[in-house]
Subunit: 435 residues, 4 copies
């Protein structure tokens, strides 16, 4: 499927960038024609060009020589939406630093509590964001702006943007949030306004399409590793000790897979992408019994979205963000495992660990500090050049500008046949199929 990956522009860029260029340490400006291939395999590229087709490619992110917005007259706004994720404060701080430090854009507002902050009747006064007040915020988890879930009326939000003369809106959030950003863009276009809306994609689950990795993911799975280690210690501490850990991952098993690979303790990793059965001679419970018989202990890590087919849930239930409400696979497994061994009169000691919000509320790691900082800078470069209706990402190690509509093309998944999952299978020694 070939997708349109062109980036929308507000109009001709006529102002000179204040960034110093050339000389001994000046910047190298990007050209809008700079693009990187979506598929960097040799054969697909060759085939495309042989057939005179344009292969899918993404615009390279970075500073442009000419700007659409005149820095001295530009006002920016920032909003963070959805669940917390390590690095939100880094993104906020780096946006403000890049706006002030590189472009001398000195008016930046922070909207409070997600899209609610753009709806005046909620009464959340926007914060004025200055670099000096933000210098230490990356030492703390969370978002100094706060967040909220769920959509708001684009018309009301654009009214406020007009009223406050906001030229650039930076939206940090997941796919629901970014769909909201696209609606804001539509409303802006409908009114013929010249406002840039730039998304910075956030998902602690690392499952955004067309993005190498999402910010905060490394920090989060490193924190998850601690919970897995606890489970390992507990499983060794008792005869037939079972450590059971539930980790984040509604639709994808990246956190679970990486947390498994980072240690050597996990015996069963369960992810949404690979269905499993509990019962039967090749199901999880028998495999677990065999593991206890061999090693007198076991560690199970389950992503929250795994095994949903096993749970009695209401398929229509949704949460405030419109996400499907899931059954609690962790507590379900805990009960079923206990029951299974009780029936067989095998004494076990099962310790259930749900680190929940601990994983997402920590400060970003140094690697994520840097990554957030660079995403934010590219977001600012794009907005200043008049690009809009887009999000910044990293593709094959290059920072790129992606159209917002790409977010709707589904989520990235762990490929059961790929090396990541195969490595997990090797690490755990679990059967490739649990049924």
């Amino acid at each position: 499927m070939m997708l349109n990956t062109d980036i929308q522009s507000l109009g001709p860029a006529q102002f000179r960038s204040p960034l110093q260029h050339g000389g001994l340490a000046g910047v190298r400006f990007c050209q809008d024609g700079d693009r990187v291939l979506h598929d960097h395999g040799l054969a697909p590229a060759e085939s495309a060009f042989r057939h005179h087709e344009a292969p899918m490619s993404f615009e390279v992110a970075g500073p442009r020589e000419r700007l659409f917005f005149e820095p001295a007259k530009t006002t920016a706004g920032i909003v963070t939406c959805g669940g917390l994720c390590p690095g939100l404060n880094d993104v906020i701080r780096s946006l403000v630093m890049a706006l002030h430090g590189r472009y001398q854009v000195t008016r930046t507002y922070g909207f409070r509590y997600g899209y609610q902050g753009l709806i005046p009747r909620h009464g959340h006064t926007p914060m004025i964001l200055r670099p000096e007040a933000l210098s230490g915020i990356h030492a703390f988890g969370g978002s100094i702006l706060g967040t909220s879930r769920g959509p708001q009326d684009p018309a009301v939000m654009v009214d406020l943007l007009e009223e406050m003369s906001i030229d650039q809106l930076y939206v940090v959030g997941g796919d629901g949030t970014l769909r909201g950003a696209a609606e804001i863009c539509e409303e802006i276009a409908r009114r013929g306004l010249k406002k840039s809306v730039i998304g910075i994609p956030k998902t602690i689950d690392n499952d955004i399409q067309y993005i190498d990795k999402s910010f905060g993911f490394e920090t989060a799975f490193a924190e998850a590793v601690k919970a897995v280690q606890s489970a390992h210690v507990e499983s060794m501490g008792s005869l037939n000790g079972i450590g059971l850990v539930k980790l984040m991952g509604r639709d994808s098993g990246f956190i679970t897979s990486y947390a498994t690979l980072a240690g050597s303790a996990v015996n069963f990793a369960l992810i949404p992408e690979v269905p499993f059965q509990l019962e039967g001679s090749r199901g999880l419970l028998e495999a677990l019994r065999y593991q206890l018989a061999r090693q007198k202990g076991a560690v199970i890590v389950v992503a929250e979205g795994a095994g949903q087919n096993l749970l009695p849930t209401d398929p229509n239930a949704t949460d405030a963000s419109g996400n499907r409400r899931m059954g609690d696979i962790g507590l379900f497994l805990k009960d079923r495992i206990a029951e299974f061994f009780q029936q067989r009169r095998i004494e076990i000691t099962l310790k259930y660990i749900d680190p929940s919000y601990i994983i997402r509320s920590v400060p970003a790691s140094p690697q994520d500090n840097v990554y957030c900082s660079r995403l934010a800078q590219n977001a600012v470069h794009a907005a200043m050049a008049g690009k809009t209706n887009m999000l910044v990402g990293r593709w094959h190690c290059s920072y790129v500008n992606l159209p917002l509509h790409l977010i709707s093309h589904g989520r990235r998944k762990v490929d059961p046949h790929g090396e990541l999952w195969q490595s997990v299978l090797e690490h755990t020694g679990q059967p490739a199929q649990l049924y």
Copy 2:
């Protein structure tokens, strides 16, 4: 109440200690008469001596010049019982190092899975413990020996000690475990054997009477602080965000109090020692509503044993260790708080964090490394000198030998009128009474 604090002895100590003494760096031996006062207040001491009463005092721990056991012919055993606690591996390693390194006692066995390991029919072969194999174990949480809960038959255990020619048994565990150790001592005495049994008291809750602090406590509450910080971050991340953390502490609120004092984020700390009400104009729920109105966020930390009066529980339910089974105050509060605000149509975002076993399965901090090491050494000094039916502790910064029966004199509590709790009240700003 004046308690008998005399330490029981297996008989005259007739062997010379191999510890080098005197000279430039030799050891200073302790005398059995060395004792420290239980109450080091000036007035109580003065009053006692004026009235020619002997004030309560404890025997000072440390190396003795003469030993009861001849090192070359001595065999030792170690057992760890009950729940995991940071520092167990440190204690094991330091016992073995002190036995080998200072006394040249080269045969030490580690019994597996608590007292079960002393019951042959369970089939757990004891481990032979050598210093070189243990050198890195303090980098890991848990116990390399494993643990189990609940008592075993003292007669069967002493049979095994006889069969294996174990002269010294080091028992690491909580009050139930130490009562078991006292029963082993009785059985040994009944048979006229010369075996030393030394307890090393373990409670992650820091609530052992006559002990300054229990090993692992500092590590544990430092870990708890991370959960509290998460709750703080979450509470700030949403409008009317409430972070609710449940911490360990069945009978005492030390972990909760210290975790509160170590940060500045907690608005309500709830401990078993200070009852509270939910309902009513001065109850927790109204105080929480007031807090949200003032600051739009709140952090609540609740010890698992707090507010048990509010819960519908079966007073006769007990767990494998014979402890009273408690209701889950954390989940109860979560539900009641949600309900309360829903009834009042106040939108809140409640994040519940239960770090559970994460807190107790981490490796010991450097401070606890050292503390465990010194407790273990004093245990070895005591056993070698022929002391038995005792536990090692630290009282007013002096290492002491305490008779095992002291453990039955109840647990230490947070004093609601003392400076610790008063500091907590100052930090939280919570009403001194929630009803």
Copy 3:
């Protein structure tokens, strides 16, 4: 030697404390007569009372029912002096919180850059300290006030205190600083003023007499342990690898001893209290050769004040604080060891690690957070009651008020015959005497 341990008072305390007392959760006030024994040994106490002598004792710290200062009219000042130490920000924050939160003293100034900040001609404007602005500072190392070394003119400082109507001065610093505080007290007394000066003793080396442990020490040695672990890893990484670490400790070896005990890697610990020789058949170098022959690697930890006799130094050299300027034992050992093995044509790989300021500039650990907080509160209790010319400390686990002059009675040392050093010898396996 019997020292005068009476605490000086500014006069009768006539104001009622605002602290709630009695009831379900009220405070229990201390009486000035509450004292704890200096020597809590049973025999010394008994002997003293038999002979009708008053044994040395310390006043118990804590809240008093009646205050000398009327809270609403009281102004406080805080100054931090000397080298950085983990916990300074905790002390500052806790002083302000206790003043505001418990006593409603709302005017607190922070003097900048140590005693310099009390000398107007340096031009450092004092900071106004408010609790809300300080809530997160314990997440950062250092002192938000800054520090400086060296004394200043007491008369000029008291002039400023008068001018600013400062009633209470909290001085955080080491022995030089506290001698300066005593001079300020003298000047205040000379002028017949009613100002309280309270010291909070700071030494990262944990070597203050009459104080169980100094704040920041646990954090510091935990950080030192990381450097020791690095040295261990490096020593194992090469054939005949030698990891050499220099740690803080000018006059005492507490950091070195504790950092050694917390791991299992150190082969030689060298401290100021235990002299050693390099040369000769029983000197360090031959012992090191033997260690390499046995295990092909070695870790040496040396306190900066150790082995000063081996160095060619100028005995009259002093630094800005008037401390003796020391030779660099770390670099000296590095060179001598290299030379020694080169002469013997033994190939070694020596890695020298000097963590220097890394150890002292980290944020305080949770345990130190709590300890600083409680020291600060007791300082405030003392000042409010009109006590002066004193410092707060902890003696045998009780918080006490100590007269400032005690600081001049020398420093605490590691006792070469005590259990701490004996444990170090056991851990390292080093010869008790290296000459």
Copy 4:
């Protein structure tokens, strides 16, 4: 420049891989023709294909369906060379796990102390490596095999490989080491042997050409960030405080740049790629004076290879690995800065921090755990398929097989005109040119 990127093969692969393929969770095998473009820019690719030129590309790494080596008859060897780097133990462990777990290759030897371990006269007995003994080694820094620097005679090493029937040699090391591996390959080819030699490139400096990032780099710079934070704390702690940190980076400034970007404290970052002057009105010293005047504190981070032109050094001096011996820019700057301000009678407090080996001897972070694990697996996939004279890497997020000769094409550098360095300039606010 178009380089030959073909991978050399030992011969036809005729054994069936034991890896399960297809089905629900089986592996997807790679084809040797799978390649990724070196330059994934759209325009260069288009231009190449338009002109019917083959653009430079790399072979994709991964499991092959047919193997050259029969697993049951295969013997492997592992050697780690050069300086320590976080992740070495992860690589060792993952190689052994992949060999045993995925291919059932059960004989793996670990050569001790780098290439020395392949020279019998050094007398280092190789270790037999089994997965169960390695399960916890990633918790420790360093290399369990030890390392050494410098080359050894390829003929003698190949003699040993023959004698021990080693079929696959995994070499972990930097460019010198990998050149040595290439010489071993030549010797193997000269003798007509069928032995695979696979390099796993190691450089803590992240400066290997054609490799996205080197393992251990993220861990190392995260550790460096702590030293920078210390310097920041110290610089704030005194009036005119200067924190000066020296970091690793002989030829490249990646650690310095990333450590700068991860915080917000650095005022001057100095790297080898960007020359600077000390003196003169636009030199570092005047810029530093201006910074102190503005903010009363400064943090300087200097890579060890920066400013070498300023130092009086012997250009012919080399170390054991043949690397140019450098002058110590850290100590040099420390002295020059002190002198500069002394001459101008400006009182400063300069704290110099050299974390040295602390940065490289820590255990790998979870992210590096995973990265090492995947590099190692791809190394094993390549060797089993009969590939040789190559190294495994990651290029634009794809794991690739690279010919060993690429290592000789110079090192990667920080591009002074690229976004990384421009971001550093923005963060520090330092002049783009210091002269």
